[in-house]
C-alpha cells in the first residue's frame, strides 16, 4: 500500500461525492441552455440534496428493512468503486482488491438491490421499474464484460490500474480499432446503465415510460437524497472510468502535490466535458420504445464482440 494509493483512496471518493451532484447540475444546465432556457445553475442538485436531507423520512406501510437499506447499499457500492478504481491516481490503495470485473459486479449489485427494494413496495410501478431495469441490466452486462475483455487482452490483465498505465505508456493504443469499437460499445452501455436518453428519460413524469424513476417513486427525504446522490455518483463513476480507460492523460502517477492537483483537475475537466457532450447529445434524441432498447444493446454487444476479435487479430 503506497502513500499515493492512500491519498488517492481518500481524495477519489471525496471528489466523486462532492462532484457528482455538480455533474448532474452541469448536465441539466447544458440541456437548459440548448433549449433556450436559463437553467437553475449547476449548484441546484446540491440545494436539492441539502433540502431532502432535512425532510421527513417515510416508511411506506408494508415495506421491509430491505427498502430502507437499499439506498445505503447503493451508495456504498459506488463508494467502494470510487476508492478502488483509478480516477485521480493509478496507484489505488486497494488495486489488488478489485479489478474491472469486480467494479462492474459491484455496480450491478447496487442496481439489483434497488430493484429488490422497488419490488418490496408491492406497487405496480415499483415492479414495473424493477422488471425493466433488470431486463436492461441483463442485456448490458454481457456487453460490458466483453468490452472489458477487449480492453484487457492487449494488457494481459483486468486490473484497472494496469490497463490505464499501459495506455499511458502506449498512447497509440487509444486510436486502435479495438479501443474505438470498445469505446462505442461502452458509450451505449453507460447510457443504458445510468438511465439516460434514449434508453430512459431521467426527466419524465409519466410512470408508464419510466425505468429508473419508477423504482424510486416511494422514496422520500433522506432516503431519496441517498438514491439521488448514488445515481449521480454512478454517472460520475461511469464517465470517469470511461475517460480514464480511453484518455488517461493527466492522471497522477506520483504522490507529489502538483501531480495530484493535476490529476484532480484532469478528472474534473474530463468528466465535465463528457457530461456536457452527453447532455448535448440528449437534446437531439427521443426516448426509444422500451422494446427497441434491446436492439440498441444487441448492437453494442456486437461491437464489443468485434472489438475482442480485433484485439486478437491485431495483437
Amino acid at each position: 500500500m503506497t502513500l499515493l494509493g492512500l491519498i488517492g483512496g481518500v481524495i477519489q471518493p471525496v471528489l466523486i461525492v462532492g462532484g457528482a451532484p455538480l455533474l448532474v447540475g452541469v448536465l441539466r444546465q447544458v440541456r437548459a441552455r440548448l433549449e433556450g432556457r436559463v437553467g437553475p445553475g449547476v449548484l441546484q442538485p446540491w440545494r436539492d440534496l441539502r433540502k431532502l436531507v432535512g425532510k421527513e423520512a417515510i416508511t411506506p406501510r408494508g415495506t421491509s428493512e430491505l427498502f430502507r437499506v437499499a439506498p445505503l447499499v447503493l451508495v456504498a457500492t459506488t463508494l467502494v468503486v470510487a476508492v478502488v478504481a483509478p480516477f485521480v491516481t493509478t496507484a489505488s490503495a486497494a488495486d489488488p482488491v478489485a479489478d474491472l470485473f469486480a467494479v462492474v459486479a459491484l455496480l450491478a449489485l447496487g442496481t439489483a438491490v434497488l430493484a429488490l427494494a422497488a419490488i418490496d413496495t408491492g406497487t405496480a410501478f415499483g415492479g414495473m421499474g424493477a422488471s425493466r431495469e433488470m431486463t436492461i441490466l441483463a442485456l448490458v452486462e454481457p456487453t460490458l464484460l466483453v468490452a472489458i475483455f477487449a480492453l484487457s487482452v492487449p494488457v494481459g490483465s483486468t486490473s484497472l490500474a494496469a490497463i490505464v498505465s499501459s495506455t499511458l505508456n502506449d498512447p497509440a493504443r487509444v486510436v486502435s480499432p479495438v479501443s474505438l469499437l470498445a469505446a462505442v460499445a461502452l458509450v451505449v452501455v453507460i447510457v443504458a446503465e445510468t438511465g439516460r436518453l434514449p434508453v430512459d428519460n431521467p426527466a419524465t413524469h409519466l410512470e408508464l415510460t419510466m425505468v429508473h424513476e419508477a423504482m424510486t417513486l416511494e422514496y422520500a427525504g433522506p432516503d431519496l437524497a441517498l438514491v439521488e446522490l448514488a445515481s449521480a455518483m454512478r454517472l460520475t463513476v461511469f464517465l470517469g472510468l470511461f475517460a480514464n480507460l480511453f484518455a488517461p492523460w493527466g492522471i497522477a502517477t506520483s504522490a507529489a502535490p502538483l501531480a495530484l492537483l493535476v490529476g484532480v483537475l484532469a478528472l474534473v475537466v474530463k468528466i465535465a466535458v463528457l457530461g456536457a457532450l452527453l447532455a448535448a447529445a440528449e437534446v437531439f434524441l427521443a426516448k426509444l420504445r422500451l422494446f427497441r432498447v434491446p436492439e440498441l444493446l444487441a448492437g453494442s454487444f456486437l461491437l464489443s464482440l468485434l472489438a475482442v476479435s480485433a484485439s486478437f487479430f491485431l495483437a
Binding site: G36, R37, D48, K51, G54, K55, I58, V283, F284
Partner: protein
C-alpha cells in the same frame, strides 16, 4: 439533426429576463433553501390552468431557473400545485396526496377555481375550494393565472 442544431444556434436564449424577485416569502418555505420540488394535482380543473403551468415551466418563463422543479411522485415533493375546484372524486385522492408528501410540505392553490371555486361555484359534484380539503399556504389568482403570476408565486416559495 443539423437542422436542429442550426435552429438552436439561431434561436439562442429565449427565456425572458428575470423580473425582480417578489419580496414576500412564504414563511413555511424558508427551510427549503432555494429548492422546491412540486407535484401537480389536478383536482377538477378545466385544464386552462395546466396550460399556463406548462408555459410557466416552458423556455420563455423558465420557472426552473428559480429552483422549482416538477416531480413525478408526491414523496419527492415539497409542494403541491393544486388546480381546479375539488370535485367529489378528487377530494379523497387530494387528501391522500397531501398525506403522502414528507414534511415540511406546502400547498399552492393555482387559479380562481382552486381559491374559491370560480366559475364552478355551486356546481354539482363540487366539494369546494382547495382550502376546504387541505391547508393552503399560497394562492395564485386568475382564471387562468398568467404564467408570470405562477412564476411569481413559485418564487415566493423558492426565495430566488
Amino acid at each position: 439533426m443539423l437542422g436542429l442544431w442550426r435552429k438552436i444556434r439561431r434561436t439562442g436564449r429565449i427565456a425572458e429576463p428575470a423580473p425582480p424577485a417578489p419580496g414576500d416569502r412564504v414563511e413555511a418555505a424558508a427551510g427549503l433553501g432555494g429548492s422546491v420540488q412540486i407535484r401537480h394535482v389536478d383536482a377538477g380543473s378545466c385544464n386552462g390552468c395546466e396550460v399556463e403551468i406548462g408555459s410557466a415551466f416552458g423556455p420563455v418563463h423558465d420557472a426552473e431557473r428559480y429552483g422549482a422543479r416538477l416531480v413525478a411522485s408526491p414523496r419527492h415533493a415539497d409542494a403541491l400545485l393544486v388546480t381546479g375546484v375539488v370535485t367529489r372524486n378528487m377530494a379523497e385522492p387530494l387528501r391522500r396526496t397531501f398525506e403522502a408528501v414528507p414534511a415540511p410540505k406546502l400547498v399552492v392553490a393555482v387559479g380562481d377555481c382552486a381559491r374559491d371555486c370560480g366559475v364552478f361555484a355551486g356546481a354539482y359534484g363540487v366539494v369546494g375550494p382547495v382550502s376546504d380539503v387541505v391547508p393552503v399556504d399560497l394562492e395564485i389568482a386568475g382564471c387562468p393565472p398568467r404564467p408570470e403570476a405562477i412564476v411569481e408565486g413559485l418564487r415566493k416559495l423558492t426565495g430566488r
